[in-house]
């Protein structure tokens, strides 16, 4: 992505007969950022559409079908509806906390996608410690959520914020241990190198199957989808920490949750399912096929299971996933020591 936008930036500057290297550098990043944003927005819209349609079929109904052919423009209609809603700041709410969390959550979620490469030469940035960076950014959200819950001055929001934080904290641990096992086997923290390692040897879902399962459950909890969507469980807490947000802010939170789903699916594909590796088709096509397959798995789980209670969520996290993750890291170490892969 960097090289493409660099070409474009250079072309623009040449056309304008300007020759400042710094300007060239800045313009390149601006173009790349806009491109990233466009890619994310397109992906999110497609994801929402795919989820609605697939969930509909799981539930023996059609999903959206009125707006546009097969309902493809339903998301845009919903978005316009959110745009024309009034933006409400609740009385007695803390304005700074209420609004700043929006920025923090949206920006941090976009950042996760920024560090995830999509093809060998198609990425926004690919730092050496990308894996750790991605999960570090993943961990920013709970703080913003607890601020949002407190700032809304609503009991449901407060409970939702606490729940969100508790859940994130307890699932970070098995998640990171599993990630470390992958890094242990692959010998690197760089996403591209992990995929290259899998191309050379084997998809890590095979040897680290327990880790794969732990990662799947933990990532579903991390992106707060059913069955682990306790922070915004609409049956007991109206919409959890998002209760007081309305209009565009609410729409941005909803989009953000899909950005995080996308990021979670992408990381899972990169770590366990061979990344962009695959025959015949170009690398980026394979990457997206796998990401959407993983997302379908999330939708499938959502369509089949009820919600877990918050204390049970924590129980599962600490009592089942953590031991499994530890077993997994032992397995990874054994593989590494024996030199099989």
């Amino acid at each position: 992505m960097y090289s493409i936008s660099n070409t474009i930036a250079t072309a623009i500057l040449n056309a304008l007969h300007i020759n400042y290297p710094l300007l060239d550098y800045l313009l390149t990043w601006v173009i790349a950022s806009i491109a990233l944003l466009i890619i994310i927005v397109i992906n999110v819209i497609v994801l929402i559409y795919v989820e609605r349609k697939e969930l509909g079929r799981f539930m023996d109904r059609r999903g959206p079908f009125v707006v546009g052919p097969a309902g493809v423009f339903q998301n845009f209609a919903d978005m316009f509806k959110f745009l024309i809603k009034e933006m409400i700041l609740p009385e007695n709410a803390d304005g700074l906390g209420f609004n700043s969390t929006l920025v923090i959550i949206v920006a941090s979620s976009l950042l996760i996608v920024a560090v995830v490469p999509e093809a060998p030469y198609f990425f926004y940035t690919n730092p050496d410690l990308g894996l750790l960076l991605a999960f570090a950014i993943f961990a920013i959200e709970p703080f913003a959520v607890v601020i949002a819950g407190w700032a809304s001055n609503n009991k449901y929001s407060l409970l939702g914020g606490f729940r969100s934080t508790a859940q994130m904290m307890s699932y970070e641990v098995p998640l990171l241990i599993t990630v470390i096992s992958v890094a242990l086997v692959a010998g690197t923290f760089n996403f591209s190198s992990i995929v290259t390692f899998q191309e050379k040897h084997v998809w890590l879902v095979g040897p680290l199957f327990i880790g794969f399962i732990v990662f799947l459950i933990a990532i579903v909890a991390e992106i707060e989808r059913i069955p682990f969507d306790t922070p915004d469980a609409e049956a007991e807490l109206v919409h959890g920490w998002m209760t007081e947000y309305a209009g565009v802010k609410f729409a941005l939170f909803q989009l953000t949750s899909y950005v995080r789903s996308f990021a979670g699916a992408a990381i899972m594909v990169l770590l366990f399912l061979g990344g962009w590796e695959g025959p015949f088709l170009p690398a980026i096509v394979w990457f997206y096929i796998k990401v959407y397959a993983v997302f379908t798995l999330f939708v499938w789980v959502r369509g089949s299971l009820p919600r877990v209670r918050i204390d049970q969520v924590l129980n599962i996290g600490w009592r089942s996933l953590l031991p499994l993750a530890l077993i997994n890291i032992v397995i990874a170490a054994l593989f590494k020591m024996s030199g099989v892969i």
């Binding site: 109904r61 789980v301 369509g303 089949s304």
Partner: protein
Amino acid sequence: MGYAFKPMWISLRTLIRTSIAGGKPNTLLYPEEKMELADDFRGELGLVMDRCVGCESCARICPNKCLNMMLDDAGNGIMKWMPALDLAQCMFCGLCVEVCPSTALHMTNNYETATKDRFEKIFLPHEWAIKPEEAPDQRPFPYPELYEINCTGCGACDRACPHDVIDMVSIPGTAKRRPNGTLGPEKKLPMFNYELCVSCALCVDACPFDALDMLPRTTTASDPVVRVEEVTSV
């Protein structure tokens, strides 16, 4: 967590059945496809003005008082009493259709009755009229029938009848002898002149001993508005 697979299998089967294996989902695409309705579905009310005899039975039975008798032109220049309808208050119970003796009321299959303003749903009699062909469910007129055992000959029905249908007649030979030897009054029973009857059932309501009941008759009486031959031919 091991037992999450059976429900996932069920939903996967539904997915396969509805999208891949040629089936289609359960949704009804509403504006294009409509629900299948039974013949006697209770939808919007319609009035066949030709058949209405103005008996007010519907207005009396209506639980919500949404029917009101009004004078209106029946379409052929004749002014007569017919019910006006406030459909916004109607709760589609169908009691009026059931009590209507002349099958002038009919519940059509139309259930899409939404309007922007509820006052658009207040109809004068000619505004909610339907054609007789649209209301095919004709049944024989019910007429008052006497249960002689209950009747005491009090004459309450005679006093209640608005059309002079009922005459109280003495039955010869029913007089009982009093202790002092004279004959008492003869027992009286109502006689019905069905030609004049509009089946309003006021006599049945008036009878204190439940001696009268509305029962369908096809042969005895000639129909005041619709001829019996037409009824049987439809």
